[in-house]
């Protein structure tokens, strides 16, 4: 339920929605009880208690606090402007070093793959974080079905490019469409998720509907939203933020409190809803599961 220790991997099968909402009520009651107990306590005690657990970020915050520049650059813009996005029908093109390049309707792409529910920490490069109960399909399951060739060393994810539906794309803020990519071993890692739902409901437009990538040990911008193309490549693809600001945003973008962003420290983060910052965890707390992927790599130059 709650992530008690940073390295716990809370893998669960999908739950019946009513059970899911019961658990939410239970968690909310826990939070309320904890707050009531804290009334006579000092502010420091409040701050300490807040750091000890990873409470689920409320649904309202998750759907109203988004960086999705295709819909505007304010945190509130995506919720305000993403209504225009048509998420059905949705086609995903599978291209490049793969056995059978093809275009799939989203339902066909994911048909037969077992969805899972995962509660992940989400850490933005800007220095804020959330805890999100995602629903989706492990990317490795899809990749197994798609059969990339032996030359495929990277997977590239492309977001929709349609300025008619995405007003932010009318401005040259980023070189649209948004592109992200993973090394093949990162893509095949059990934690990597192709997300289609959150809090037991279909993922809202502003969160990247109908399908987005979630890689919990990396900064959030690695998780491309509203994916329309999966491309398998031999060469490392150039990813959007790395193209725009190569000194600030790297390919790997692993959460790393010891490697600062050029303009701010990454040692701490502000969990949404909390007053005090908390220390950022190496690999966002998933080090036990992913550190081996980077053994021997200099994580400062490969940021």
């Amino acid at each position: 339920m709650l992530i008690r220790r940073p390295d716990d991997l809370p893998v669960r099968e999908i739950t019946d929605e009513s059970l899911f909402w019961d658990r939410r009520a239970f968690l909310a009651a826990l939070g309320g009880a904890a707050a009531a107990l804290a009334l006579p306590g000092s502010a420091a005690a409040l701050a300490r208690r807040a750091r000890e657990d990873d409470k689920l970020t409320p649904y309202e915050s998750i759907i109203s606090y988004n960086n999705y520049y295709e819909f505007g650059t304010d945190k509130s813009d995506p919720q305000a402007n993403a209504g225009a996005l048509r998420t059905s029908p949705w086609t995903v093109a599978v291209e490049g070093e793969v056995k059978r390049p093809a275009s799939y309707a989203l339902d066909d792409l994911l048909k037969g793959l077992t969805p899972v529910e995962r509660v992940y920490r989400h850490r933005c490069v800007e220095g804020w974080s959330m805890v999100v109960p995602w629903m989706g399909v492990p990317l490795r399951d899809l990749l197994g079905r798609l059969e990339p060739t032996s030359r495929a060393r990277f997977v590239e994810f492309t977001t929709l490019h349609d300025p008619k539906q995405m007003p932010g794309q009318r401005y040259d803020l980023l070189p649209w469409p948004y592109v992200e990519a993973l090394r093949m071993d990162e893509a095949l890692h059990p934690l990597t998720l192709l997300v289609t739902g959150v809090y037991g409901k279909p993922v809202p437009n502003q969160n990247g509907a109908p399908m987005r990538l979630v890689v919990p040990w990396k900064y959030g911008f690695k998780g491309g939203k509203s994916i329309v193309r999966l491309r398998f490549t031999e060469q490392m693809p150039r990813t959007t933020w790395n193209i725009v600001l190569p000194d600030e945003y790297g390919f790997y973008a692993n959460v790393n409190p010891t490697v600062d962003h050029p303009r701010w420290s990454q040692a701490k983060e502000r969990r949404l809803g909390e007053l005090f910052k908390r220390p950022t965890l190496m690999f966002n707390g998933y080090g036990e599961q992913v550190a081996s992927l980077y053994a021997g790599m200099d994580l400062r130059s490969n940021f």
Binding site: A35, A38, T57, S61, S64, R270, L272, G273, L275, F276
Partner: protein, 196 residues
């Protein structure tokens, strides 16, 4: 006094929000907004007292001017504290970095510095110590303080400048009315204005 109780409303709302963790996704921003805005508002209200007295003869309002001013300063203190404690976690290096990147912080801090002697000398005792004329001269610092505070607000808002502009416009009216009344004043100046 009733004025002090009224002034406490925003603070009570904030405290309740902090205790129940119900200040939204960005509680620090919320706290800063709801300490900064009351600071400005009470300051503007205190600046409205003199024009309203002269125009409508509401002499009783003078009693409100000190509580209004002190309420403004109280919220300014909370505003500054919330910045130092929650935003910068009392780290000198962080503050220096932040000021370099966000120059409006210095503007706000200057406004606070200008208001501090006013808060400290708000009592009858100080009016006596300084003498009415010098006390009045000192308290004219409220004008640059108010202007700096408005600029601080205007500068820090990223997109929607409606509120900061509104506060600037009202300040313009408050200061403009004083100038206008100064010109119109033919009668002898009233006795020392700090009566309460």
């Amino acid at each position: 006094m009733a004025a002090f109780l009224g002034a406490a409303f925003p603070l009570a709302w904030l405290v309740r929000g902090i205790v129940t963790s119900d200040l939204g996704p960005e509680p620090v921003d919320t706290i800063q907004h709801w300490t900064g805005l009351p600071a400005l508002s009470f300051l503007w209200l205190s600046l409205a007292v003199s024009p309203m007295r002269r125009v409508w003869g509401l002499n009783g309002l003078v009693r409100l001017r000190r509580p209004l001013g002190l309420a403004a300063y109280g919220y300014a203190v909370l505003h500054l504290l919330s910045y130092l404690v929650f935003d910068q976690e009392l780290s000198a290096t962080e503050i220096v970095k932040d000021v370099a990147e966000h120059p409006w912080v210095l503007v706000g801090f200057s406004a606070f510095l200008l208001l501090t002697p006013l808060a400290l000398t708000s009592t009858q005792g100080w009016i006596r110590r300084l003498g009415g004329r010098r006390w009045q001269q000192l308290h004219r610092l409220v004008y640059p303080a108010a202007i700096l505070a408005s600029l601080h607000f205007l500068w820090l808002v990223k997109r929607d400048v409606t509120l900061p502009v509104a506060y600037l416009v009202v300040l313009g009216l408050l200061l403009g009315s004083r100038l206008f009344l100064l010109r119109c004043r033919g009668a002898a100046p009233r006795a020392s204005t700090a009566r309460s």
